[in-house]
Symmetry: C2
Subunit: 222 residues, 2 copies
C-alpha cells in the first residue's frame, strides 16, 4: 500500500513539474514581444525604377531605363515611408527629392496626417519640394534663425523611426555616401517624437514661404 502511494506521489510530482514547465513556456511566449525592426540602409542607392512602389497593382509598364523589380536602399526607404497609415512627422533639413515628395503627397491624399518641419534657408533650394507640399495643403513649418535645423528624420505612425545622415535630395540618394537607420526600438523612437513635438511647438507661428524668398547660406561648416 505504502509503495503504491509513493508511486502516486512521485507521479503527481512529475505531472505538476511538466505542467508548470508548459505553463511558464506559454507565459514567456505570450509576454515576449516579436522581434523589433532594426535596419540600416546604405547610400548611394543602386539605381532602380520605383514606379511599381507607387502603383503596385497598376498594369502600367514603366519604360524608364532603370532596372525594374530591383530592391534598392531607396526603394526600401520609399516603402517604409509609404507604409504610414495614420501619420507622418517629417523633420528634414533639405527636401528636393521628387520621388520622396511624391511619396509624401501620396500619403497626404490618402488621408494620412502629414506634418513637415524644415530649415527656412533650405526650403528654397533648387527643386525644393516644400512649395508643392504646401500647395497640396500639407502643414509645413520652417525653422528660421542663424543655426541649422539639421535633423533628417521621420516618424511613421508614431511607431517607426527613420533617421540618419541622408537629406531628402537627389544628390544624397544617388551620389553621396550616406546612412539611414530604420527602427521600432522604443528607447530610440521616444526622444525623436519628443524632439519633433518640441520643434513643432517652437515654430508655431505661420511662417509663409514664397519661392525665392531667401537663398541658402553657404553651408561650409554644418
Amino acid at each position: 500500500m505504502s509503495v503504491m502511494w509513493t508511486v502516486k506521489a512521485v507521479g503527481l510530482g512529475v505531472v505538476a513539474l511538466s505542467l508548470s514547465v508548459e505553463l511558464l513556456g506559454w507565459l514567456q511566449r505570450r509576454l515576449r514581444p516579436g522581434k523589433t525592426l532594426n535596419e540600416v540602409l546604405i547610400f548611394p542607392s543602386e539605381l532602380a525604377c520605383v514606379e511599381r512602389i507607387f502603383n503596385p497593382s497598376s498594369s502600367y509598364t514603366c519604360l524608364c531605363p532603370f532596372p525594374h523589380g530591383v530592391e534598392s536602399s531607396f526603394s526600401r526607404l520609399l516603402r517604409y515611408i509609404l507604409s504610414a497609415s495614420s501619420s507622418l512627422d517629417l523633420c528634414v533639413f533639405a527636401f528636393s527629392n521628387m520621388d520622396l515628395g511624391r511619396a509624401v503627397l501620396a500619403l497626404h491624399s490618402r488621408g494620412v496626417t502629414v506634418r513637415v518641419l524644415t530649415d527656412k534657408d533650405y526650403a528654397a533650394i533648387p527643386g525644393s519640394q516644400i512649395g508643392a507640399l504646401r500647395k497640396a495643403g500639407i502643414c509645413v513649418r520652417c525653422s528660421a534663425g542663424s543655426v541649422y535645423m539639421h535633423h533628417k528624420f521621420a516618424v511613421v505612425d508614431g511607431q517607426l523611426l527613420i533617421t540618419g545622415s541622408l537629406n531628402w535630395t537627389l544628390a544624397a540618394v544617388q551620389g553621396n555616401m550616406e546612412n539611414v537607420v530604420v527602427t521600432e526600438e522604443p528607447d530610440l523612437l521616444r526622444p525623436f517624437i519628443k524632439e519633433f513635438h518640441r520643434l513643432w511647438l517652437c515654430n508655431d507661428r505661420a511662417q509663409n514661404y514664397r519661392s525665392g524668398d531667401q537663398k541658402p547660406a553657404h553651408h561650409q561648416n554644418p
Copy 2:
C-alpha cells in the same frame, strides 16, 4: 493512513511546482541578455565645462565660465567616445570640433587604435582637426570625388555605434538642431562596421593632405 498520504502527495506536488517555477525563473534570468544600450542625444547641447571628463582624477580646477559638473548631450557624447579601450573607427564628413579632436588624440596616445575616414573637401575647413590627427600619427583616409562622404558615425571597440546628423563641428554641437543615436543593437551596428570596412578599403591609396590644398565646395544641396 490514506489521508496522510494524500496530504504528502499534495505537499510534494506543491514543492515540485514551486521548485520548477524557481528553476525556470533562474534559467530565464541567465539566458536573457542584459538590456541593450539605446540612447538618443539631442543637440544643440547645453553649455557645460568638459574638463573633468578629460581629467577625472586631476586636482586642477577649471576656471572657464561654463557650468561645472553638469551633464550635457555633448559631455555624454565625449564619454562614449572616450570609453574606447581598443579601437575607434570614425567616419565623419566635417571634423573641426576641438574637444572632439582632443578626445580622439587622447585615445590615440592611450594606445587605442584609431582610424579616421573623412571627406577630402571638408578636411580643409577652418579649424579642421584632420591635420592635427595626422601629425599625431593617426591613420586618416580621405574620400575624394564629386560626391560627399556624408556619414557622421563612429564605432567604439567594435561594439558601440554612435551615428546621426551631427558633424563634429562647434556649430553642430552648440548651434544646430541635431541628433545622435548611441546603440549597441547588433542589427544596427553590423552594417555600419561593414560600411566602414568597405570605405576604408576603397580609399586605401595614400592621400596626402596639405593644409589649404582644396577649399570646400559650396554645400548647397547635400
